[in-house]
Structures are given as structure tokens and as C-alpha cells.
Symmetry: C2
Subunit: 514 residues, 2 copies
């Protein structure tokens, strides 16, 4: 008779799970052993749990399917929370499995004991722990249903190790799992169509509204009506190269200004945007109070369908067009700035590719320079928990072995999860990592200025700069088995970047920015 | 009029806080700015929150004084939890300060919003958040009282950023903070003395029972009575070189065997030990049921005082003696094994020094070989949350600039928090890091065997080994500005280790183990 761990893993495999990002401990060994018999699940080791949860997030956002993060209990789960926070904000269907001790053993307060439910509850509305082997089958079906597809939701299943090792009856085949998002009522299509009567219209696209179907329909509406398309400042996933989309500015003054030109902002898959922090005097708003905000579809609804119906209602059939920017080719020997870096990369993106963008302050102009690049999916840092980019690139590359993944990575954030490089090397993932090496937490320098703390004192300067010594990313990459190169000019970056596309496996390019 | 952040930091400085390990974000900038005016607090940047909390733990365990971990809210706190878990288990008085948004802003669900109280509650019994500037002074006094000294307790103070920026009245000078642990009643001294009537006695020393005063008294008792002294498998801090102390074995069979020779085990500052995991058939116990367990002092009581009173009661005045092991000097060209590594390091420890031991499986014999080394403090991984060693070494070196810190570090665990190396380089800390490079999670291999999963399959092997590629620690160290060297023989290790002691600042030695 198989044990519960075997049945669980075979069941997940039958339900379509094909990737497991793991850093197991003793209480997960029966699940590891069960994975031996699941050739349909690729099990990938991360050297820290943040790699595992971030990779599962990237995999699930891109594939639209639940993936597994297999973590050790207590501190193992705690280590994975930051990227589960990003997964939650990114509506990514990550199913986290945690091996646990029995309650009886936990009452003895062994060294690893801690409140896993409290930890898990901060990143998932669905947290369960079976008390008997018989409960596992129902719970895992419920978890998969909760996860859904993309956009979906993370879930956490806490599994006592002694229970997993217990023999159990074979599970029934998993129920069919086609994900259906609620369709919005006609009244909302009508209200959106009427908005065009009262001044210029902007759309804020997110969730399924920023995937290919949604963007295609929004592009038609834009071409027909002149409406401007925006995406969130840090989109979970956006399909680019279909229609021109403006990225919402980060700072409130700039966002308020950008939206002030419109009579209505229509939310298509996006919640109303709010600032990261309590900024005075603007408060949390990013859309001026005098602009009307209309919800066409919430993130949980079928925003793509709503946009298609609105396009039909508006008789918008012509595809969006891009104004191709007419750049002078940058001087090959020009020292790299964030802007030059964006220009070089924007004109060099391969077709097909996936861009994982945690470039933060350094990448602001990459967006503009890559607007008319070949079609690609872009995924960004959704929850502000830095260190998401490199793990996300791992997951994206596992989900999509036929596309090059370009990870545009701020250096300070990249240092949060640099262990991801080892997984890229071990799994021979086709990832080009571009480190935006400004050797600073530049956003903090900007926020210091904004807070009126100027000039910053010695302590503040030391908290914002990554120097004395500056990390050497080429050495760090070498330490994890990834070939690396340092570039300082536009020509060097272009050469290194284009070359990396022809070399199987990962490459790291440290772009020194001035 | 100063703002609340200024008053808070000046108050903490006046209360004796002298180190702050920080990775601040926007909501902590007023505290960073306040630190400009606290020249008595050394503010040290960590590249990941786990470095900050682990360093604060190391600092507080060694100095016996509260230190600060200054973290960003939400995911920043989450990233620091693993080492706060170790701090809690190690009874380390770490005060974590977290900047927060206002409740009003959090209600908007901004990207970083998450339940900080739930996170903090998993690692600290004391979590508070002031609602008005006037509450801050009382709360910080309460937090410092809760933290106490070492042994003490961690505390978490959540501080809304808008409140910190508000002007406030000057705080009163901090109350006197001499830490006093409860003294145990005479009846317990008497009961312990009587235990010697009924068979051989062992002591399990921890908390103040394993610091110099406690060990000195226990050593006298041992010399007088023949009692054997044990410390926990993973001691928070133990003063070595005073009396012979046996480290409790990790696996239950070995621990049960070790204690089976005694009529009584007397707990002096230690709780009754339990296994990490639900092992069958032994359950959670590590002391056989037929052995009497007697509490002389709980971890919260004054175990050192109790041991001194017991020594007086037993008229034990002669100091403990060591049997100096009579080793042949290892062959210089012998390839390193864990045992040889222990032998070389045990015979080379400088005087004075601090040993931070997260060597796990590789370091089992180091303990024996260093038993009669010069007096040193040893601090180990207390809560099983791996990745504690390198951060702890950072904190120990800041706390104790007059002593070399030797960090004996397992490679798999070291990769959890390798960012610590950068802080060692930047702060020019006198740390010698010895990486025990067995390129495996060896403990998992042992646990697989124990669980009867043998031979392990392909998936299990890939989850337990750190190869294909093996990390290159010399490159990783170079990437963070720390000079490194790889050694493969006993002679090379001895040479590199002794040389590192004469070079100011950090050195990393990658010891390849066979």
C-alpha cells in the first residue's frame, strides 16, 4: 500500500503540476522520496527558500499553472515568505507544501517549533493542515481549486510528517480544473462605453487585462478612440509588443500628473492603485480625486473578456500601432548610464523572450526603449519584497525552455537572492542576467531627498551605498558556476548581450552604470 | 523640538545600546537620520535582513546587552525571522525596530502591507506598536526591560513612520537596567546535593550555567564528585577551557546511551532536552525514562549562582582539570577529513578568541579536539534555522573587537547568508571563516538513511548534494571583498589558519573535505 506522500505527489502530477522548487529538510523527506516516482514533475533545488518561492512564482505567473514550493517547517517557511508575499500580490498560483512535526511533538517545544499557521496566514488566505491521512485528498483538491490559474492565488498546505509516512488508500483522479473567471455584467461594458462621452479615457490594465488577449482588445480600443493604456508600476505580467502601454510612474506627483489629463480612468483587471508609503500631502492616491474611476473588471474577474466585449461594443477592430522610435545608435564607447543601458537592451531583445524586470530605478527608461521590441512577456516585482528577480527568472526559464529569459536586475535587490545563480547553472537555464550595478540602494537616496533629509549624513550615506567594497558580480557568478563579464560601455554591453543569446545556459553581465 | 525618532535613538543610546544592524527602507529613514546624532551606536549595514538579525543575535549573546536590528516593514521583517527564531531559542536580547505605515495607509492595501504582528509574534512574546508619540517612551523602556541581558529575550517594536517624524517632548533618562535573574530556593540546592547519594550524576549546563561563573562552579563540583558535565547539542553560548564539557549527541540513540550511565541528570539553566524531529520509536526524549531529571535552575533563573551554592554545599573547591590529549601531529600532506580539520583547528585556536560554530556534521570532532584549547566562548546554531553562523560572526566581531572570531561554517548553511561576508569586509572585522566544504546537506543524507530511504533515488541525491557545479567559495568571498584561499591538506589548513590570525580584517578558508 502506498504511503500518503506518494499518493499526494502522484495526485498533484495528475492534476497538471510539473515543477517543484524545493529546499527540503527532514520532515519533507517522504515527499522527496515520493517525487522519485513522479517523472512528470521537475524537482529543482534552491540554496535558500526565497529562491524556491520566487521561482515557483515566476513559473506559475508565466505558465498559468500551479507549481510547488517544497519548504522545511518553521524557519524554512519563514525564509520563503518574502517571495510568497510577491506571489500573493502578483496573484500567482503557488502551492507551498511544508512538512511539519506532529502536534504532540510540537508541544515539547523542539528547536524548530514555531507557529506555521501565523506565518502562512500572512501570505495566503488558504492555509490548511490535515489531521488524518484521509483528509489529505480533499484538502489538496481544495488547495488546487483555490490556486486556480493565472491570475490566481497562493495556498499553503502544512503536512505533518508522521501522517505522510502513513499508508493510505489510492486517491481518486483529480477533478477537472479548467479555470473560469467570473464574467462581468453587460452594465459595466455599457458604463465603460459611455465614459468616452465625457473626456479623454485611460485604461489601467492588470491581471488578465494585461495578457495577450486583453492587451489586443485594449489596443483596438486605443486605436479606435485614442484612449491611453497604462499598466501598473510593477506589473505581475504584461504582454508587450502588441499595443503601446505606458507604465504608471512610481512617485505620486508624477502619477497624479499623468492621470490628470483624463476624464475617466477605467480599471481593467487592476485595483485602484495606491502609493507604497504614506506620502504627504498626497496621501495614498495615485489618481486625482477629480478624475472619475470606473471598474470594468476586478482582478478576480475576466478582464480580457470584458475588454473584448467593450472593443466589440465600440466597433474597434483595427490593431494598435506603434510609433517606432527613431534613435541614433548610441556611441559604442559611451559609458553606460541607465538610459543608455535601456536603449541597448531595448534594441537587442531576442524574439521570443521573457523579461524579468527587477531593475527598479535603473530600468526606468528600458520600458520606453523596449516598447516596440518583439513581443515578449514582462514580469516585475509585485509586492515590493526585493530579491524577486533572479528567483523569478529561474522559474520562468523552467516554465519556458524555448525562450531566452532576460533578467534585468538591480544590484542591491539582486544581492538578496544571488543564490539563484547556482540553480541557473545547475539546471542549465537559458537566462541572461544583466546586473544594473549602480552600487547603491538608489531608491532610498531618492526617498531621503523626498523626505527632506538633505544632505544625508554619514550614516544615511552608508546605509544607501553598496561600496567599500563594491560587490564584484563577475566573481559572485563564477562562485556559482555562471560565466560572467563586466561591461562599462554601450558597445561592450551590446556585444556581451547578443553573444549571451547564442550560448546555452546562463550568462551574467555586470553593467557598471555611471 | 526634536522628533520622536531622535528621542527614541538617543534614549536607546543612553540605555546602553551600542550597535544597530540595519537594512532600512523608506519607513525607517527618520530612524536612520536620528542615528546620525548617536555616535555611541555603531550602525552596520547588512545586505539581507537575515544578516542583520543574526548579527544582532551574535552581538547580544556575546556582549550580554541588547542590540538593535533595524528592519523594513512587512517582507523586511519576514526576511529577518529565521535568525530571530534562533535568537529566541538562544535567549538573546535582540530588540527589533520596524518602521511601518500608518494604519490608515495600510487599510488601502499598499504593496508592502502585511500582518507584522503575526510575523513578529512567531519570534517574540513581546510585540508592541505605539498609537501616539507619547506612548513611545514607555514602550521602549518596557522593551528594554523585556530584553534584559544574556540570557534574555528578543522583543519587537513596530513604529509607524508618520509618528516617528512627529515632534515630541524629550524623554526622561532611561531607568537603571541592571539585570537580575531570580535566585533559586535553597531546597533545590539541597535536592541536587542529595542526588549524589543515588548513583552517578550528570549536569546539563545552559544559559548562565554555561557561562564562565557557572562552568567554573560546575567544574569544581565535577572535580570533587566525578559528575560529568554536558552542554546542549547546540549551545547558545558556552565558556570553554575552564572545565571539560561533553556536547550532547544529536541523534536520540546516542544521547539516550550517553545519559543511561547516570542515576540523575541535573538541569542547570537548561530545559529538558528534546529531539528535533518525531523519531520513532524513541519519541521526543533524549534522557532515558529510568534516569531521574532534576531542575537545579531553569534558563530564566540564576543558574550560575545555583551552581556556586551547590559547589559550596558540596565543599567543592578544587578547579577542574583537563586531560590534555596526546595527539600525533597530523601529516601535513594528509587530505582533510572532518576529523583532521577538527584536529588542526583545535590545536591552532588563538588566545583570546570567539568560536562561532555552525559546522554541523563536519564539526563533530572539533569539539573534542578543542576541549583543552585556550579559553574561548563558543556560540552555536540554537534554533535549527540554518544560516546563523556567518551573521553571528559579524555580530560577535562587532561586540568584541579585541578578539579574533573563528567562524566554523558548514557550506550548505553558509550559502543561506553568504552576504555576511560583505559586511565583514566593509567593517574590517577580524573574522577567520573556515568553510567546511563537503558539498552536501550531509545531515539530510544521514536523516534519509535513518528514515530507511535507501538507497536514495536521483531526486533525493540531487536535493542533498551541492554539486554540478560545486560552489567556489574563494570566488564568492572575492565577490564580497574578502580574501580567500582553498586548502585540501592538513598542512595547508594549518598554514592558512595561522596566517589569517595575523592579518587584520576577514579571511575565508575553503577547506575541501573528503
Amino acid at each position: 500500500m502506498p504511503n500518503t506522500a506518494d499518493e499526494l505527489m502522484l495526485h498533484l502530477q495528475a492534476a497538471g503540476v510539473s515543477a517543484c522548487f524545493a529546499n527540503p529538510g527532514t520532515t519533507e523527506l517522504s515527499m522527496v522520496d515520493a517525487l522519485e516516482r513522479c517523472s512528470g514533475i521537475r524537482t529543482v533545488l534552491g540554496l535558500h527558500e526565497t529562491v524556491c518561492t520566487g521561482a515557483a512564482d515566476g513559473y506559475s505567473r508565466l505558465s498559468g499553472r500551479p507549481s510547488l514550493a517544497l519548504l522545511h517547517h518553521g524557519p524554512g517557511l519563514a525564509n520563503g515568505l518574502a517571495n510568497l508575499h510577491n506571489a500573493r500580490r502578483g496573484r500567482s498560483p503557488v502551492l507551498t507544501l511544508v512538512g511539519e512535526s506532529s502536534e504532540e511533538h510540537n508541544r515539547l517545544q523542539p528547536p524548530l517549533a514555531c507557529d506555521a499557521r501565523a506565518l502562512a496566514g500572512t501570505v495566503s488566505a488558504w492555509v490548511e493542515r490535515p489531521g488524518t491521512p484521509g483528509e489529505v485528498e480533499g484538502m489538496v483538491n481544495e488547495a488546487m481549486l483555490h490556486c486556480g490559474g493565472y491570475p490566481g492565488r497562493p495556498a499553503v498546505l502544512l503536512l505533518p510528517d508522521p501522517l505522510l509516512a502513513t499508508a493510505c488508500k489510492p486517491f481518486a483522479p483529480p477533478p477537472p480544473s479548467e479555470v473560469q473567471w467570473p464574467v462581468v455584467p453587460d452594465s459595466r461594458i455599457e458604463a465603460a462605453a459611455e465614459a468616452f462621452q465625457s473626456g479623454p479615457v485611460a485604461f489601467l490594465l492588470a491581471a488578465s487585462g494585461s495578457l495577450a488577449r486583453g492587451v489586443t482588445a485594449a489596443g483596438r480600443i486605443s486605436a479606435e478612440t485614442g484612449a491611453q493604456l497604462f499598466c501598473e508600476t510593477f506589473p505581475a505580467r504584461v504582454s508587450r509588443g502588441i499595443a503601446p502601454i505606458t507604465r504608471m510612474p512610481y512617485f505620486p506627483e508624477a502619477a497624479l500628473e499623468a492621470f490628470s489629463h483624463f476624464g475617466t480612468v477605467i480599471l481593467a483587471g487592476a485595483p485602484e492603485p495606491v502609493t507604497f508609503f504614506d506620502y504627504t500631502p498626497t496621501g495614498g492616491r495615485l489618481i486625482p480625486t477629480e478624475v472619475r474611476v470606473l471598474t470594468l473588471a476586478t482582478p478576480e474577474e475576466d478582464a480580457a473578456d470584458a475588454l473584448e466585449r467593450l472593443a466589440a461594443r465600440l466597433h474597434a477592430t483595427a490593431a494598435a500601432e506603434f510609433k517606432r522610435p527613431d534613435h541614433d545608435k548610441p556611441q559604442a564607447d559611451a559609458l553606460l548610464t541607465p538610459d543608455l543601458m535601456g536603449e541597448v537592451l531595448g534594441s537587442s531583445l531576442p524574439d521570443p523572450c521573457v523579461v524579468v524586470d527587477e531593475s527598479l530605478t535603473s530600468g526606468r527608461t528600458f520600458w520606453i526603449h523596449s516598447e516596440s521590441s518583439p513581443r515578449h512577456e514582462l514580469m516585475a516585482l509585485t509586492g515590493g519584497a526585493i530579491g524577486q528577480g533572479l528567483p523569478c527568472a529561474v522559474g520562468a526559464a523552467v516554465a519556458s525552455p524555448d525562450r531566452r529569459v532576460v533578467a534585468l536586475q538591480a544590484d542591491g535587490s539582486g544581492l538578496y537572492s544571488l543564490q539563484s545563480l547556482w540553480t541557473m547553472a545547475r539546471e542549465r537555464l537559458d537566462v541572461t542576467v544583466v546586473i544594473c550595478a549602480n552600487r547603491a540602494y538608489r531608491i532610498l537616496e531618492l526617498e531621503l531627498k523626498r523626505a527632506g533629509i538633505r544632505p544625508p549624513g554619514t550614516v544615511a550615506r552608508r546605509m544607501c551605498t553598496l561600496d567599500g567594497p563594491a560587490p564584484n558580480w563577475v566573481s559572485l557568478a563564477d562562485g556559482f558556476g555562471v560565466p560572467g563579464v563586466r561591461v562599462e560601455t554601450a558597445g561592450q554591453l551590446e556585444h556581451a548581450f547578443r553573444q549571451s543569446l547564442h550560448v546555452p545556459g546562463p550568462t551574467l553581465i555586470e553593467a557598471i552604470l555611471t
